[in-house]
Symmetry: D2
Subunit: 355 residues, 4 copies
């Protein structure tokens, strides 16, 4: 039974930390009690420590919480700790938290490639969470890179239904909110402009996709990455003048012949119901994939908030002269691509009695 | 001899027509004398007929020209007629002009697929202009679609050097100026947004590329299109919040093995000198392809005006896990992608003594 | 008691009409049953007639409603009819509806200056609604111009507390959603640009302010406009690259000396509770005016959705070297500046037993 | 005579410094020989030290110049030194340069309020440069704040013709390039947004206007500021999503009655010829003030480059219900509002034989 699980947030004053706080306000499963930030902020009330830059108001409950440093000793009461730490600090601090027996759900990239750390998009591969069942002490679950999250959402049902994907390309048009705001992308770089490069992003997509779509080993201790010669992934990443919502123009080729028809692909996407929804998780999208038939959709401004940002929109499914199919995928980068996934992962951990 | 060739412009009040007028101001080879527009504008001075919306002032010489209707009889004195007509009118009017013995350089799509009409990107396939040598009467030369122009620029030297391209993909991020301004793309559709669809555009890219890179027949009477089974082309087109400059993330695979190295590809691009420059054409870019080594370039705001918009920028040349290479191509859609190409085509026609 | 009032919408496929439909979905007081649009749309299901362009999905209830023409005979069952008609049609159609005994709440400008028609910003001058009490048959209530609505919100409490305003200036930075989307503001006109002109807007602000802040006559039959020599109003209107939310930099001078202090002005604004809230109207803002103390606020992206867009944000209240005070006012142009005001007006009519 | 004057640039790697370098390329009067920057950059070739972010290519001549530290000893050969230093460093360094007998033209704010330093907008108050004639050693001339420059341009001819201005208000819509790019305005703050505050800007406008429009004392040793009780100035400053070009909505009231007519005001503006043009200065605008009659102009994207950015555009001149007149002023903030003014000031110093 009884009562909510206690939650903490690391990196609480940053952009991801602020999103964690918004999503935990009035959450039915979790009560946020501990906020950790840099020594500069520690000791201050959160309302005084934060430069709040969300479109929703700072929730009342968080204002008076006194910020602590990001040390495990201050988070002992937490059933789960959400980390929005910068990569510069996340590696070491999160490891310390695990040592201290804490459950960490992290948005940082540092531990994503650790063999014993599940890398999870909650609407895609919740089964990978089973890896933490055997952990005697604390553990980390990593949230995927934002543009990877959107990409793998439609891939999962397609692979389940039609078998392996042999080749996959994505050209991303990514929102600036993904770069944070301290300072993130300079205005002069993005107004009337595109930046055809995001440091490290292409490599993240190409690698993480193979882990997220990989298979849990029989003993549930690790994930078998899809070998690069079995699934070729190529990403081209761009930053564009969009506030929220990553658009990806993807193409893919199945291994099995004959390939399915366009209608079969569409039906498979539209029918997909993620496990988190079946398990009754609070934040799980009612419709995991919104299949759009108008030829000019999805569009970030109009479609990014489907199912509060937990649903992924897919449109323009059509045959591709080079690979088998091409389509456009839109996902909300700060929800399913970051903090929102963290919350849904924690809900899954709870549903699976892993916290 | 002597004197400049006389030029006319069809669709003179539209966005492409306005660009023709700007580019013909103080041109060393052409003197613009005739401006044709709709019956609504005919009879007015150009300054009174036009809603001028360029960043440069309306040239003095054009202000007092009295606009005529788009009938061949009014253009008899013209050595060359530039057409910026809408597709709704271009087909019939341009055919009438050819019947009347006039040389038309058109930005409209209507005649691009006519077997005996050259479809020319002047920095790419000027040799296709030889098709008009045998014409007893008038002729049309078509300017390519804007996003096709940028795409084929780096392909030409690569094909010349390394042989046929077997597969080609492009995901475009296209500027709104390409949609004109009556009204073009609505502001509410493009602010904080992407439109992942441009009507007819993907088909144009996929078809026109095969004509532009096709081979002139031995008798110079037509172009042999590259068959679809020899060169697969796939395009995904997006409209983004950029004023001028189309960015394309392309990937390509050569037919011949082994494929060249990245350094060979780069050198080939950097070394390319277009024939128009060798022929001394006034508007030809000194550097046809600007090869950029910084990893975050080309960017439309910073790079679109290289060589007054006649040069194409290519960056991020690297290996592609799925095809052979990927790279980013930037071209100025209203210059090399539209009116500017028209002017340079006319300069080539003059250099080749075809007008 | 009994059941909800029946509502209809005129101009249901337009941008304002779409907003009315969203706001009436699940409304506790009204049930939307009749949708009127142009003859072109009449006879179609709404889902087939509309080009839905809202960030929220088209509500299920509206999809199957068969659109009718905008004739009073089809709206007989309606207790209130919301009009989002274009000014080209609104004048005549709305008059016909009044003739037929219907209560119309209109966003169109046509009847705003009619002496017997109340022009109402529901958080400002609900008392003007009393004018309709004596109407034997139907009546119109006009929603104010969007930029006027934001402007008068802080003026009302100030005038109540400190007496007449002698001089008032506003320079507006207006969102593009106010111009609709057929096509509204062209993208090429607003990207990297400002349009320092909105047709008719300055005159609307300068005139409507004097009616909204005017006094209801003793017999409640009309409003006495504030004479121009007692209150001078000057507006300068600009369209900027903002999707929703009008920002106004205003200055004002009180008639009475000594003028209040900055702190008195701030307190007066923060303390203001609009009558609609006191009456328990469903959509009334809990906080009518959000007084912001950070010097870089209000900002449209961050602050436009306060109280679901019914609250107005005011910041940077400070002394003005030329008049008495200057401040920045932000209001949501499609909520309190248009359809939202219409809904709240209807709630007020209901609370006042005028429908 | 003989040969060009030698020029140096302080803060050469910053955004203002980069603009100085562009404007000095191929300049008929100046040869740029010395580039000073931070110790971090010193010793490197300029091409290696700079993160070049201009739309024009880095001029060849500057690439190989070895950057030095900002110490006077390295600039001894310079006839004029242009300073683009940050305010954090400018005060002390520029003073040291004056001590060393150098002529400094500075874009920094530090010395603008020094009584013996002229604050000059070259198309407005070149006569203030006479203050430096008596200087035995070096001197500083300060470029005004960018938004002040645009504001005072139309005021000067009006004051000359119609006498003192008693009250003046301006609401600015300022471009982001004015904030530099390290990082300048964050993209997330300016996309779909306005920031209604620019630190220190309003005070600069309100103060600098009184110095620039002030009168040179009889002995030419100082400028008499216009007393605040004789000229009231009020500014409200906003940052908007525009790359280059500050738009200002201004209102003004003359002291003398009767006030001139709108036509008189327009004629006065259109007729103004700045002294720099009469003196034949290379960069002086042929038309100082471009008076626009279309009601939706000036617009930054279309009008900011008049006379290469040295001309100021004024539109919408009309009567103001509160003061006498209102109008819209557009100026290019990085040209007449910053580096460009510096170059034209140096040209004036040369024409006046002050360097």
């Amino acid at each position: 039974m009884g009562g909510k699980k206690v939650a903490g947030v690391l990196g609480a004053t940053g952009s991801v930390g602020q999103r964690f706080i918004l999503l935990l306000a009035d959450h039915p499963d979790f009560e946020l009690k501990v906020l950790g930030a840099s020594p500069r902020s520690a000791g201050k009330k959160y309302v005084d420590a934060v430069n709040w830059k969300q479109t929703e108001l700072l929730p009342e409950f968080a204002k008076e919480i006194v910020v602590c440093e990001c040390k495990a000793e201050f988070f002992k009461q937490c059933d789960v700790v959400f980390s929005g730490l910068d990569a510069d600090y996340a590696g070491e601090i999160e490891s310390e938290f695990v040592e201290a027996g804490l459950a960490v759900v992290s948005n940082a990239k540092n531990h994503r490639r650790d063999p014993d750390v599940p890398l999870v998009v909650p609407i895609v591969n919740p089964e990978h969470l089973d890896m933490v069942a055997s952990k005697k002490r604390g553990f980390i679950v990593c949230i995927s890179n934002c543009s990877t999250a959107g990409l793998v959402a439609p891939l999962k049902p397609l692979v389940e239904k039609f078998g392996p994907i042999e080749a996959l390309t994505t050209t991303t048009l990514q929102a600036i909110s993904g770069a944070g705001f301290s300072p993130g992308v300079p205005g002069i770089d993005i107004l009337d402009n595109i930046i055809p490069y995001i440091g490290g992003e292409e490599d993240k997509i190409e690698w993480e996709t193979k882990k997220i779509l990989g298979t849990l080993s029989a003993d549930r201790s690790k994930v078998e990455l899809i070998p690069s010669d079995q699934m070729k992934v190529s990403a081209q990443c761009n930053r564009v003048a969009v506030s929220d919502g990553h658009t990806e123009c993807i193409s893919l080729k199945f291994k099995n012949r004959p390939a399915p028809s366009v209608d079969q692909v569409k039906k498979c996407l539209a029918d997909y119901v993620c496990e988190a929804y079946k398990l009754g998780c609070h934040s799980a999208p009612k419709q995991t994939i919104h299949l759009l038939e108008q030829n000019d959709r999805p569009q970030p401004r109009l479609d990014r908030n489907r199912d509060a940002g937990y649903g992924v929109s897919v449109g323009r499914v059509r045959e591709d002269p080079v690979l088998d199919f091409k389509m456009v995928v839109l996902s909300h980068n700060t929800v399913i691509g970051a903090a929102g996934s963290g919350i849904l992962i924690a809900e899954l951990l709870l549903a699976k009695k892993l916290i």
